[in-house]
Structures are given as structure tokens and as C-alpha cells.
């Protein structure tokens, strides 16, 4: 038995990636759940509009964090600000007597819950009205996030495993000696995963909308653009991982290490605004964070493309960066640099047995 235990330890010691995962994963989960697992939002970005804006703004207490006071604007402007995610709450005041209306962005579930609770506790000082997700249904917020999560799974894990399988089977070498351009091989390998992930994305979106009554209130083209950019990023990650992995087990480990943080830190489960600043920045370098902004914005808030310029731009930048890196590495595997003429000593072979 001791021999068996020793053999296992020796094998584990050589498998550095598994060892790293055994040590890194618990630490990662500890940090994430310690600092990020917080559903309570204490700061609600609030805009106050209408003729009484200045007075009402002074009376608002935490969690309402007044960031903008605009007496000249009205309810329509307030709704527009919520749609563009410029505020989580817009307090609309009027010249008539009565409490101002707190328009709450229901697409930000936990912010909306905090805002509703605070408004309810105001003893009638605020009249809450939740927009975009009036009944604060969790499924309405989860479905747009799930679309991205499924694309991340297929794009990264399935692609990485598929490519590594090709290398392990020796068929990647066969492709390399066929008269294909490296770009042909890369495009040919990636296209089916792109199509599959896109089909899955449509399926999840349509079934999610039909099954849970999630609205799709925005522009399909904007959603498709965001999804395509996000797919390029996650497919690129899959290709990149495949070039760094020797076998399917390693590819799976590495892919999970990229997908897990995206699920936990993209704002899909825990609100980004409630995370400790030290962890929140991780969320802001993850592609799923930006796709969530787009899918959530388009599906629930009918967000205009102008208000989604930032997440679209970041995803486009990430797509170019990750995909280029992945293609360059994959290309290097397929077609190493052309042999250079290097001066060498006299041939070792003189044509006779020595």
C-alpha cells in the first residue's frame, strides 16, 4: 500500500498543473467567496431630476448615492438614463405635491432589491417603480447571463479539447503537411464551434424567453454583434489553451480556470458593485462581464447601441488581442518558421560506413 501511495505522490509531484490547481483553486475560491460573494448593494448610483431635484437630492440617504442632479430633466430623460445604465435609480420630482417617484432599474436585480427596500423604508417619502423587470424575477436577469456562460463553455472548453484531441491523435501533424494555409486550418477548425455556439446561443435565448417570459425588448442586431465579438474572444481563449496544453486533461483544467472566474466575477451571480474593489477589477478584465452588460441591456432595457459602445469596444479589443495571439501560436504549431540557412560544419556523412 505504501508503494502505491508513494507512486501517487510521485505522479502528482510531476503533474505541476494539477498541483497548481489543487493549491490555487481553493485560494481562488476563498478570495472570491470572501470578497465577491455579496448580494447586498450599499451604493446605488442615483440621479435626481425634475423641478424639486435639488431639495430632494439633499434629503436622500444611503444607499442612494446621488451622482447627478438635473432639475431641467423629466421622467423621459430619467428612463433614458436608466436604459443607458447611467444610474441604477432615478428619482423624478414634480412641482405638484406628493412624494417623488423612484424609478428603479430592475435589470440590476440586487441593486433594484436594495432600492425597493430603501424606498419602502422611507415611510412614503419615495414612491418606488421598478422598470424593465417589474416583478424582480431572478430568471429575467439570469437568462441573458446564461447565454454568455453557455457560449463561454462551448467556445473555450469544447474548442480547446477538440483541438488538443487533434494534436494527441497526430492528425494535426497530418493537416500541417497537407497543402492547407494555416489560416485554412484555423478557420476550418473554429467555424463549426462558432456555428454550434451560435446555435446554442439562439436556442437558449429563444427557449429562455418562451419558458420564463423574459422579454427581448432591444435590437437583435446589436445583441448578435455583441455575441459574435464575445464568441471570438472565447474561441480565441479555447485555441490559446489548446496550444498550451499537452493533453485533454490539461486543456480541461486550464479552460475551467478561465471559465469559472467569469461565472463568479462577471456580475452574473454577484453584483459587481457589491464586490470589494480588490476583486472587482478582476471582473472588469473578464469578457463575460462585458457580454452580460450587452445581453442584459439589449434584452431587458432596450439599451441603444450608443450606450453599449464601451462593452462592445472592450469585447472587440479583447477579440482582436486574444484571437490574434491564439492564431499566431496555433500557426507556429502548424507551420514552424521556414528553415534558415545556417552555416554548419562539413557534412558528417561521407557516403561510407564508418
Amino acid at each position: 500500500m505504501w508503494a502505491m501511495i508513494l507512486k501517487e505522490f510521485l505522479e502528482l509531484r510531476r503533474d505541476r498543473r494539477t498541483m497548481a490547481m489543487i493549491i490555487a483553486l481553493p485560494l481562488l475560491l476563498l478570495v472570491i467567496f470572501g470578497y465577491a460573494a455579496n448580494f447586498r448593494v450599499d451604493d446605488l448610483k442615483t440621479r435626481v431630476v425634475g423641478p424639486q431635484a435639488a431639495q430632494v437630492a439633499q434629503q436622500l440617504e444611503p444607499p442612494f448615492d446621488v451622482t447627478s442632479v438635473r432639475p431641467a430633466e423629466g421622467r423621459a430623460d430619467g428612463e433614458k438614463a436608466l436604459r443607458s445604465e447611467k444610474a441604477a435609480v432615478v428619482v423624478v420630482t414634480s412641482a405638484r405635491p406628493g412624494p417623488p417617484t423612484a424609478l428603479i432599474d430592475g435589470s440590476q436585480l440586487f441593486s433594484a432589491q436594495s432600492a425597493s427596500a430603501a424606498a419602502a423604508a422611507s415611510n412614503g417619502a419615495l414612491r418606488p417603480q421598478v422598470l424593465f423587470n417589474p416583478h424582480l424575477k431572478t430568471s429575467w436577469v439570469m437568462v441573458p447571463g446564461l447565454v454568455g456562460m453557455i457560449m463561454a463553455f462551448i467556445g473555450t472548453i469544447v474548442t480547446a479539447i477538440g483541438l488538443v484531441r487533434e494534436r494527441q491523435a497526430g492528425t494535426l501533424e497530418q493537416l500541417a503537411v497537407m497543402p492547407f494555409r494555416p489560416s485554412d486550418v484555423i478557420a476550418g477548425k473554429i467555424a463549426p464551434y462558432f456555428v454550434l455556439a451560435a446555435v446554442d446561443m439562439v436556442l437558449v435565448t429563444v427557449i429562455g424567453c418562451l419558458l420564463f417570459g423574459v422579454p427581448f425588448s432591444g435590437n437583435v442586431a446589436v445583441f448578435a454583434l455583441g455575441a459574435a465579438l464575445f464568441l471570438f474572444v472565447v474561441l480565441g481563449l479555447g485555441v490559446l489553451i489548446s496550444t498550451l496544453s499537452q493533453n485533454q486533461g490539461q486543456a480541461m483544467q486550464m479552460a475551467l480556470m478561465t471559465v469559472m472566474p467569469q461565472i463568479l466575477l462577471s456580475g452574473m451571480i454577484f453584483p459587481l458593485t457589491a464586490m470589494a474593489a480588490g476583486v472587482r477589477w478582476i471582473g472588469y478584465v473578464l469578457p463575460l462581464t462585458y457580454f452580460n452588460m450587452i445581453s442584459n441591456g439589449v434584452m431587458l432595457r432596450n439599451a441603444p447601441i450608443s450606450s453599449l459602445a464601451l462593452p462592445l469596444g472592450v469585447l472587440a479589443f479583447m477579440a482582436v488581442l486574444v484571437f490574434s495571439g491564439a492564431v499566431l501560436r496555433f500557426r507556429r504549431d502548424l507551420a514552424p518558421s521556414a528553415p534558415r540557412a545556417v552555416p554548419a560544419k562539413a557534412p558528417a556523412l561521407a557516403g561510407e560506413a564508418r
Binding site: 497526430g170 501533424e173 503537411v177 497537407m178 521556414a338 557534412p347 561510407e352 560506413a353 564508418r354
Partner: protein, 294 residues
């Protein structure tokens, strides 16, 4: 065939080396394959045969020296003129026999080629569901489908039964007769006779080149005739002589007969010792020993 004579080489290594840190997988190797000739790359496992092939095909970059295909660095155009059967066969196991062939034909822009009757019988079965012999046949059929000018076969007969091996060599000869150059690696010394020219590799170096006769040269071996073959073997082994057994035949490569007789006499064994030409395998052992000591 000496370098520089005859038609232009289809594949050529010129003092090519491939190093991984301090380890030289291929060390200053020069060789050529010309149209119509079968060049056998012989050597034990780990001798550097497969690495040399990868260098020639452009799948690995030389640390020094040059490797060329059809007179230039391997590229898309040169690969179109090449047929390659790797050790692992390079077949897509989830695809059927017919789908594998169709894919390769599409890649090379070749017309639909025919399968052998044996492969035709399993054309719609996934490659994973057919035997290794048929898989090798398929890999070979695919490599030949676009009538390549150069055929590179890495251990094509490994794990193949004698009849299939003979058929495969017939096909290789037919390709050479058509004018194709063939580069074939094997660690079966018996297959050396099938080649027009041999390049022997040991520890990354090309240690000998020529026909089997050229390579063996004047190297001899001693054959020991005795009924006490087992005792004789033990005695010669104890005397630290390079003794081998071929059935019940005790043989010693590159060892003077007097040395063998002295060792046998000292052990009290009565035997006849004859000096005979060494086999290619024995020559290989001798070269390998010399390389190890150098």
C-alpha cells in the same frame, strides 16, 4: 548515389541538426532522396529518424543546417507534391474510411480515387472500427491518392503481419518504378534489402550510408558451433564479449576468432569458431557501440 550526381534531390538535409537544450535529436545529418529511389532510414528507437523526417517536412525547425523539399523550404506548394504516412497514421478515427479518403482528396485537389477491395468492404465504417492492418492500408492509399513525387513513410510496417508487409513493399516498389522518391524509416533490419540505399542513424547521427553490402563492408562476425550453446553463451558473456543468440546459434560481431576461442577454452568448452560476414543488425550494433564510446 553520391551527393551532387543524378537528378535533383526531392528531399535534402544538409548538415542539419536539431537540439533540445544539450540533447541533439539530430546531429549534423546530410542525406538526399532522388526520384525513383527508395531510401531507408534505419536505426533503433530514439535514433533520430522521426525528427529528421519532421525537419525535412518542415514540421520542425533545424537548429542549424538546412532541410529542403523539392529544392526549397517546405511550403504549401511543395507539400502538394508529397505523400506522408506518419507513425500514428494520421487518420481521423471518427470519420469513415470513405470520408477520410474524400477529405484528403479534397485537400490535395485530387480526383476521387478508388479504395482497395478490402477497404471498399468497410468504406462506411469509422476508422476506429477497422483493424490496424486496414488502417495502414487506408493511410497508404490516402498518401498515394494524389500521385505524389515524394513518399515519406514513417515506420509503415510497424505492427503489420508478414503478408501485409510484403504487399506494402510491393506497392512501395511500384511507386519507385513510377518515378517517385521514397523515404522510409524502419527499425526492422530485414527490410533494408527492400531499399536501394540506406542511411543508418544512431544517437542522432547518420553513421553510415550506402547499400547493405556497402555498410557491412568488411565487418565480420564469429559463429560458434557447439552442442553446449547455452553454456558457451554464458561463458562468452562473462568474458564481456558482444555475444548474441540467433536461435541456438551463438554469434559475436566484430570480434577476432582467437579472442572467442581463448574465452571458450578457458571455460572448458569445445566448439568450432567460424568467421562469417556480419549481418546488418550486427554492423548496426558495432556502429552503435562505437558511437556510444566516441
Amino acid at each position: 548515389m553520391s551527393a551532387g550526381s543524378g537528378p535533383r534531390p526531392l528531399a535534402e538535409a544538409a548538415s542539419v541538426s536539431k537540439r533540445y537544450g544539450s540533447f541533439a535529436a539530430v546531429d549534423e545529418v546530410s542525406m538526399q532522396v532522388r526520384p525513383g529511389e527508395i531510401v531507408g532510414l534505419l536505426g533503433a528507437n530514439g535514433a533520430g529518424k522521426t525528427t529528421l523526417i519532421k525537419l525535412l517536412l518542415g514540421l520542425a525547425v533545424p537548429t542549424s543546417g538546412t532541410a529542403t523539399l523539392f529544392g526549397q523550404a517546405p511550403d504549401r506548394a511543395t507539400r502538394r507534391r508529397l505523400g506522408y504516412v506518419p507513425q500514428g497514421l494520421g487518420l481521423w478515427e471518427a470519420l469513415t474510411v470513405a470520408q477520410n479518403l474524400h477529405f484528403a482528396n479534397a485537400a490535395f485537389g485530387a480526383a476521387d480515387s478508388h479504395l482497395t477491395p478490402a477497404l471498399e468492404a468497410v468504406r462506411d465504417r469509422p476508422v476506429s472500427a477497422i483493424g490496424l492492418g486496414l488502417q495502414r492500408q487506408l493511410a497508404f492509399t490516402i498518401a498515394l491518392a494524389h500521385t505524389p513525387e515524394l513518399l515519406v513513410l514513417d515506420e509503415p510496417t510497424s505492427g503489420v503481419d508478414p503478408l501485409s508487409r510484403a504487399r506494402l513493399w510491393d506497392a512501395v516498389h511500384a511507386e519507385a518504378d513510377r518515378g517517385a522518391g521514397i523515404l522510409v524509416t524502419t527499425h526492422y533490419m530485414q527490410e533494408a534489402q527492400q531499399c536501394d540505399r540506406l542511411v543508418l542513424m544512431s544517437r542522432g547521427r547518420a553513421v553510415a550510408e550506402g547499400t547493405e553490402k556497402d555498410i557491412i563492408g568488411t565487418t565480420t562476425a564469429c559463429e560458434v558451433d557447439t552442442d553446449q550453446w547455452s553454456t558457451a553463451f554464458d561463458a562468452l558473456d562473462r568474458a564481456e564479449l558482444p555475444v548474441t543468440l540467433a536461435g541456438r546459434q551463438v554469434r559475436l560481431a566484430d570480434t577476432p576468432p582467437e579472442t572467442v576461442r581463448t574465452a571458450l577454452t578457458a571455460a572448458g568448452i569445445s566448439a568450432q569458431v567460424h568467421e562469417v560476414p556480419a549481418t546488418l543488425e550486427e554492423k548496426m550494433t558495432v556502429i552503435d557501440r562505437a558511437t556510444a564510446h566516441s
